[in-house]
Structures are given as C-alpha cells and as structure tokens.
C-alpha cells in the first residue's frame, strides 16, 4: 500500500483518474465536472444570512439558486479528499506562506493574505463572467470539445502567465 502514502503520483495517472471521474459524472449525473458555481451559490447563501430573502430575487441567483447541490458537495469532497491524501503522505501542514512566494516576496503573512484575497476576488469575478473555471471550462469544456471553453482556457493561462511573470520576473 506504499502508493497510498506516497506524496507524489505521476501527473499522467492523476490526469487519467480525473478523466475517468469526468466520464462517471457525465454518465451518472448528466453534467460536466465544475467547481466555481458552488462558490457563487455559497456567496449567495452568506449574503442571504445578512440581507435576508431579497437576495434570492436577484436575477443571477434566480438562475443559480443559493442552495446546496451536487456540485457544492463535490467541492466539499475535494477538501476531504485532499485532506485524506495529505494525511496519508504526512504532507498536511497549516501554512500561510508558500515557499516560492516566501523566496521572492518575503514571509509576511499579512502581505500574502491580502494578495491572495485580491487574487481570489479577481478569480471569482472572472469565473462567473466566463461561466466556468479551470475544471468546468479547462477540463470538462475542453474534452467535449466546446469552442468557448478552448477560448476560456487560453484566457485563463494568458492572464495567469502574465500575472505570474509580473510578480516573479518583473517586481
């Protein structure tokens, strides 16, 4: 059972496994795998706690009702699965600042937190604007293949490469 406690698996095995999960989801749920809609629904649920039922009247939340659905459970599953994997390989660690970041941007927790918060905000906005993320467009969309998803995947990486180059090669 050493393979279960190994901290790295071949990316090809991992990718093939994700492809198989995509196939199972198409077959048994008639849906592609995606992640970002669950964040949007949760955001609506949180807003509802503060502003009450009128949040549900918003045009967007009529289409994407703030409630727990299959995809929401999938994202919860991702947290659990990664937790199990990191426990088995002894990789689990409460960590604020990733190594690559610390090496060039310093070890300040506040700086890393604020930058991550800004990055997350842009990503949440962009994911809803584009109608999907690296899972929904990047994997599920590209495997169908859907033209809008190939375009979106190019945009994800173009923007990502530009920002990573700016942070690590220019700044």
């Amino acid at each position: 059972m050493e393979w279960l406690t190994a901290s790295h698996w071949s990316p090809y095995i991992v990718g093939a496994g994700i492809g198989a999960l995509s196939r199972v989801t198409f077959l048994l749920s008639d849906k592609p795998i995606g992640c970002s809609t669950a964040f949007s629904r949760t955001s609506g649920m949180i807003e509802r706690l503060f502003r009450g039922r009128r949040v549900l009247d918003k045009e967007y939340y009529r289409q994407f009702v703030p409630e727990i659905d299959r995809e929401w459970m999938l994202v919860v599953g991702v947290v659990i699965g990664a937790f199990i994997s990191s426990q088995l390989s002894d990789d689990f660690a409460l960590r604020w600042v990733p190594e690559t970041w610390a090496a060039s941007m310093g070890t300040s927790v506040v700086v890393r937190w604020l930058v991550a918060l800004l990055g997350g905000t842009l990503m949440g906005l962009g994911a809803r604007w584009a109608g999907g993320c690296t899972s929904g467009h990047g994997i599920s969309g590209m495997l169908q293949p859907a033209a809008s998803s190939w375009l979106a995947a190019m945009g994800f990486f173009a923007g990502g490469i530009a920002m990573a180059m700016l942070i690590f090669r220019v700044l």
Binding site: I18, G19, L74, G81, I84, W113, Q144, G155, M163
Partner: protein, 138 residues
C-alpha cells in the same frame, strides 16, 4: 434507469461527494493543490499542471465520446458569448496568477492546510462571485 438516477436529488448529492473525494485526493497527490506547482506552471518551470490537464482531457474525451456514441450521454458545451468568455477568462487568469490556486485546487489546498487558500483564496472567490451577481445582467 439512468434517468431515475440522474434526477434523484439525494443520490446526486452523494454523487457529488463520491466524485469530489477522489478528485481532491488525485489533485493533492498530483501536486496541483500546491501554490509552488501552479506558479511553476505559469512561469514554465514545472509542467505538472499541463500534464494533468492534458491527460484528463484525453481520457475524458475518449470516455465521454464512447458513451455518447452509445446514446448514453449528451454533451454540455457551456453557453456564453465570445466576448464574455474572453474578458472573463482574462480576469480569471490575472486572479489565478495572483492567488496561485484555481477554484478546484483552492479547495484541495484548504484540505492540505494552506491557510492563504482558505482565508485569502476562498474568501476572495466569495467576494468576486458576489460582485458578479450584483453586476449581472448589466
């Protein structure tokens, strides 16, 4: 049979969990839940992410099209204009490069204990998605 399974709400919630757990497990084992690996891909120093995505696409394409040719599944291309896909994906990309996780891998990063993913990434995505819901449909 398939129709009954696909419309059974509680079974579908369970399906989400049953697919999500191995998905997160695989992402973590592959290293895709690590900031360093994702940024390495964007800086072209580590090609793990592209290897994972391309093998998922190859295996997924073969599987889904085999099912489709037997009439078992339909494709679900995402709707959306070229403009929305282009602008949205570029904004997403800038955020992706800044955060160093995507919406799927940020969940996996939370599972492995990355606090920047939890308090920065996840909270930020809630804020960004909420902003979009306010702007929509303008």
């Amino acid at each position: 049979m398939l129709r009954a399974i696909r419309t059974h709400r509680r079974f579908q919630l369970l399906m989400g969990l049953l697919v999500g757990i191995p998905f997160g497990f695989l992402l973590q084992k592959g290293g895709a839940t690590r900031y360093d690996v994702i940024i390495g891909q964007l800086l072209f120093t580590d090609f793990t992410v592209v290897k994972i995505m391309l093998s998922a696409i190859v295996v997924g394409t073969l599987g889904v099209h085999a099912l489709r040719s037997r009439g078992l599944v339909q494709l679900h291309p995402k709707p959306g204009s070229v403009g929305a896909s282009a602008i949205g994906s570029l904004i997403f990309g800038l955020g992706f490069g800044t955060l160093g996780y995507c919406p799927g891998t940020v969940a996996g990063a939370v599972g492995q204990g990355s606090l920047d993913a939890l308090f920065g990434g996840v909270v930020g995505i809630f804020i960004g998605a909420g902003l979009f819901a306010h702007l929509y449909p303008r």
